[in-house]
């Protein structure tokens, strides 16, 4: 493969640990004309709010934005499944000319009558921002008429990056806070922020806290119900995972309700245990909580450790490339990989901030390549340069990894096994192992040096003895 150049404008967004002096120039819009892996404001809002399963999610715009976000996230719900439908105003030419407000109002009226949801979120897409519909006004009218919160989400795609979408989602959620009764909220209680119950992960984490004697008021937004969000302000502590999406909400809740927050991660043994201990420390008025946390960690780690050791022996010394949405997840992954004997050679994220990258550089080994908002060519270049054995990324990276003959693990929203918690760590090791050690990679050209590009021998090569009989 010929040398791939880095787009000059992107030079500030690629660093190698050891020779980087300036802070990462991240948080930029993607360069026009690059094959960016990034999504838009709407995407950010949609993924954060989507798991609220008893609310109506209506995409106000043309059909595409709604179609591409229809039931593609595996955010599981224990109750209603309303969120898994696709509702949109499917704006047409006439609506674009004359405005879509009437259509939106009518759509909401019909939908609310049909489904009787607990709340409704109305997403504005790019076009709405340009044709100038007053979505707020429609929402106000419907709130008054239907008696449920009808909440506008300002998610016009061009008004920033995915991060701004998270922000808009946080604001939408915030409008529900403080409207429910906190009567049955206990003194030792938390909210889980930034877990989306992919493959049922929220359920795993929730059980840990409950075993420690801590009440989980709500998770925002994994398996969230509107009623629970309404009383989330009663909790004593917010635990913020996926810091990129939820820090804004945590800060708002701290300001308004005096609820402190802690950044946590549930990936990997170290981070998972730290999350439980940090929480226990916070509730130090009851020492039995810490006791229970210690017991829990001991038991859970004891359960998975022997199996992890076995994986570690096999995976020792293998190299990985990581490209994920949020930088905080990248930290956990670097650590989790280390736990199973693997080294991170390339790491990047779509939405990290300068501090995140600094921190990332601290925990990585010398020479690790660190990138912000990368593109496929760049990623392929680094994967080949570092000769990695595993790529961890999302839907768009998977086929690229495979084309290069590299194993893959989806740590994005298309994962089908829970990767959080202790059991998640084991699942992660299992998934990494099953892909990295798959015999398919023995057949790929990279492992068959000196062969033609398909890995087949040339006419002259004598690799099979034609006389020999197979017994």
């Amino acid at each position: 493969m010929k040398d791939i150049e880095i787009i000059p404008e992107r030079e500030g967004q690629v660093q190698r640990k050891g020779d980087a002096s300036t802070p990462m120039a991240c948080n930029k819009k993607s360069t026009a004309g690059s094959v960016s892996q990034r999504a838009c404001v709407f995407c950010g809002s949609r993924v954060v709010l989507y798991p609220i399963s008893d609310a109506l999610h209506v995409v106000h715009g043309p059909i595409g934005c709604a179609a591409y976000t229809w039931d593609i996230r595996g955010s599981l719900s224990s109750g209603q499944q309303l969120h898994r439908n696709s509702f949109s105003t499917d704006l047409r030419e006439m609506d674009v000319i004359y405005g879509g407000e009437k259509k939106l109002l009518l759509a909401l009226r019909q939908l609310i009558a049909r489904y009787k949801p607990k709340a409704a979120f109305i997403y504005s897409t790019c076009i709405v921002g340009v044709i100038g519909d007053d979505v707020e006004a429609v929402c106000r009218t419907m709130t008054a008429e239907a008696g449920i919160p009808v909440i506008p989400v300002h998610s016009e795609g061009f008004k920033g990056t995915k991060k701004d979408g998270y922000r808009a989602a946080c604001e939408a959620v915030a409008s529900l806070l403080g409207t429910g009764s906190t009567e049955d909220v206990k003194p030792h209680s938390v909210n889980i922020l930034g877990d989306f119950n992919l493959a049922g992960e929220t359920w795993i984490i929730k059980k840990y806290y409950e075993r420690m004697g801590i009440q989980v008021v709500t998770c925002i937004t994994g398996d969230a119900k509107i009623e629970d969000i309404r009383r989330a302000h009663g909790a004593k502590l917010n635990l913020v995972q996926c810091s990129g999406s939820m820090t804004h909400l945590a800060k708002m809740m701290e300001e308004k309700y005096g609820i402190p927050f802690k950044r946590v991660s549930y990936f990997g043994i170290e981070d998972m245990s730290a999350a439980l201990y940090d929480t226990a420390k916070f509730f130090s008025d009851d020492p039995t909580i810490m006791q229970r946390a210690q017991d829990l960690v001991r038991e859970e780690v004891g359960n998975i450790y022997p199996q992890l050791q076995a994986y570690r022996e096999e995976l020792q010394g293998k190299k990985a490339a990581i490209y994920v949405g949020g930088s905080f997840k990248a930290f956990s992954l670097v650590r989790a990989l280390r736990l199973i004997g693997m080294q991170t050679a390339v790491v990047g994220s779509q939405t990290g901030g300068p501090d995140d990258y600094k921190q990332l550089a601290e925990i990585c080994d010398e020479g690790t390549i660190i990138v912000d908002d990368s593109n496929p060519l760049e990623l392929a270049k680094f994967v080949l340069e570092k000769d990695v054995d595993l790529f961890i990324g999302g839907v768009k990276e998977r086929p690229i990894a495979y084309k290069l003959g590299v194993a893959f693990c989806d740590h994005n929203h298309e994962r089908k096994e829970p990767l959080a918690g202790y059991v998640g760590m084991l699942n992660f090791a299992k998934e990494v192992y099953s892909s990295v050690m798959s015999p398919v990679w023995n057949f790929v050209p990279r492992r068959q040096p000196g062969r033609a590009h398909t890995g087949m021998p040339s006419a002259q090569e004598k690799s099979v003895s034609l006389e020999e009989k197979i017994p």
């Binding site: 150049e5 787009i7 993607s30 360069t31 026009a32 004309g33 690059s34 094959v35 960016s36 999504a39 838009c40 995407c43 043309p62 059909i63 595409g64 934005c65 709604a66 179609a67 591409y68 229809w70 039931d71 593609i72 209603q80 499944q81 309303l82 439908n85 696709s86 509702f87 949109s88 105003t89 499917d90 030419e93 609506d95 939106l104 009518l106 759509a107 019909q110 939908l111 049909r114 489904y115 897409t125 790019c126 076009i127 340009v130 795609g157 061009f158 920033g160 496929p376 392929a380 839907v395 768009k396 998977r398 086929p399 084309k403 290069l404 003959g405 790929v444 590009h453 398909t454 890995g455």
Partner: protein, 457 residues
């Protein structure tokens, strides 16, 4: 989840629930990928481009390349001229494609960016290197569907590139429609057996079905070359498959270069493939080789072996209009009963054509253009069917109503192999029969009472 769907149909004027279509740009992007060395470019915000690429990747399980103008608030106010100019410059200097195929998005359509003027300006300023091609098409998503976007891109490609030198070649143009790469390969195989030289546009084989060769290339070997597209104006005829995805392009070529065009449906199923083969025969004035006769005979043999299992089975079909039209015809050939026939793409032609196909079949079908899967589900709740044929989005209905789903069309997000097996040609028809009969018999084996469970069905 879809247990929320009730059988009663209430007035629903202003909203779309569970669409049977998506937006124009993704179709344009897919069509552009069928041009050799082409970088599709999405002129709008980065979100659309990201969604389209992900969606195509989920179906094709292949890397999908496209660039974006990355609109900001500034571009939304002042227009996308600066973004597109910078984008063109960057694309050529970094990725160096032969062609950039620009499509618009809702946003740039509403802003009203004048793409040809922007391209011309970029050229004048030397931002497009000598010998490189830039084409564009308009794809407002508030009109039509992804099929419209596909058609627009193919038509624009011809408009930009096809030329008539006056020297007619021995080549036949085939505009195959919104098909998978495996389908394109099958059409090429058939044309090979028929001994007809051809140009297919677009041709995504060798682009979105490449093997693992240890390399990652932005521009794989496949795709119709610019040179071939140019010479389409000199071909002796054009066969266009599909009213919605291909006919506009053939009409354009007919008007532009005087190439006579045959307007067919997709060569799916027996009749569809017969018509295709026959059209090729007539235009190329050839006899049909025995090998083709044999393929056809094998299909008919299979149809006769299995006809009793399919007779009278009722079917709901949803999907893209050209696919659904061709499939409906095939179901009639198989003595099955299409009961609900839906496309999300708007266009009255669809309903007229389906009615024509079903006229003598005794099938009393509900047919709808611009429909959606929610409504289809309501109909099925009122009166069920034996089979559902459509893309992955029908799986929710299939599960709730316990009806087998035959995955067909675009997109198939939850299975891995459909893209590799053609549905066109006599070969494709055999595969479709295989899937349908097995679905019917598997269900029976699984669910019938033990006293009716037999080794031999």
């Amino acid at each position: 989840m879809l247990d929320g769907t009730k059988a009663e149909t209430t007035e629903r004027t202003a909203l779309r629930i569970n669409p049977a279509k998506t937006c124009q740009p993704i179709g344009a992007m897919y069509a552009a990928l069928g041009i050799h060395g082409c970088m599709p470019h999405s002129h709008g915000s980065q979100g659309c481009c990201s969604y389209h690429r992900s969606h195509l990747t989920r179906h094709y399980k292949e890397p999908v390349m496209a660039t974006t103008s990355s609109f900001t608030e500034g571009s939304a106010v002042f227009g996308g001229l600066a973004n597109l100019t910078t984008a063109l410059q960057n694309i050529f200097s970094i990725y160096n494609p032969d062609v950039v195929a620009i499509h618009t998005t809702c946003l740039s359509e509403v802003i009203g960016d004048d793409i040809p003027t922007i391209i011309k300006k970029a050229r004048d300023e030397g931002k497009v290197p000598e010998g490189k091609v830039v084409i564009h098409t308009n794809t407002p998503s508030f009109v039509g569907s992804h099929v419209t976007g596909f058609s627009n891109m193919v038509t624009s490609t011809i408009k930009y590139l096809a030329e008539k030198t006056g020297k007619t070649t021995d080549r036949l143009n085939v505009i195959p429609g919104y098909l998978d790469p495996s389908d394109i390969l099958e059409i090429k195989r058939l044309l090979g057996i028929l001994g007809v030289n051809s140009i297919l546009l677009p041709d995504t084989s060798g682009v979105l079905d490449t093997g693992l060769d240890g390399n990652y290339t932005m521009f794989p070997k496949g795709g119709t070359t610019v040179e071939d597209i140019k010479s389409m104006g000199d071909s002796f005829a054009t066969i266009a498959c599909g009213h919605f995805a291909s006919h506009a392009a053939a009409t354009q070529l007919e008007n532009q270069c005087n190439v006579p065009a045959g307007f067919l449906e997709l060569p799916i199923g027996l009749t569809g493939t017969d018509r295709f083969i026959n059209a090729v025969r007539q235009y190329a004035t050839i006899d049909i080789p025995e090998a083709i006769e044999e393929e056809r005979a094998r299909l008919i043999d299979l149809m006769s072996d299995l006809h009793q299992y399919l007779h009278g089975k009722t079917v709901a079909i949803a999907g893209d209009p050209d696919h659904v039209i061709a499939m409906t015809q095939f179901l009639v050939d198989l003595d099955m009963k299409p009961k609900y026939v839906v496309t999300g793409t708007p266009g009255q032609f669809f309903e007229r054509r389906i009615a024509e196909i079903l006229k003598d079949s005794g099938s009393n079908a509900t047919v709808k253009q611009f429909g959606d899967l929610f409504e289809l589900h309501q109909w099925i709740k009122q009166e069920p069917v034996d089979l559902i044929i459509g893309n992955s989005y029908n799986k929710h209905i299939a599960r709730v109503e316990n009806i087998p789903l035959i995955r067909f069309g675009f997109p198939i997000l939850d299975r891995g192999t459909h893209r590799l097996f053609p549905t066109v040609g006599y070969t494709g028809a055999k595969r479709l029969i295989d899937e349908m009969v097995n679905a019917v018999l598997d269900k029976k084996d699984r669910e019938c009472d033990e006293q009716w469970f037999e080794l031999i069905q």
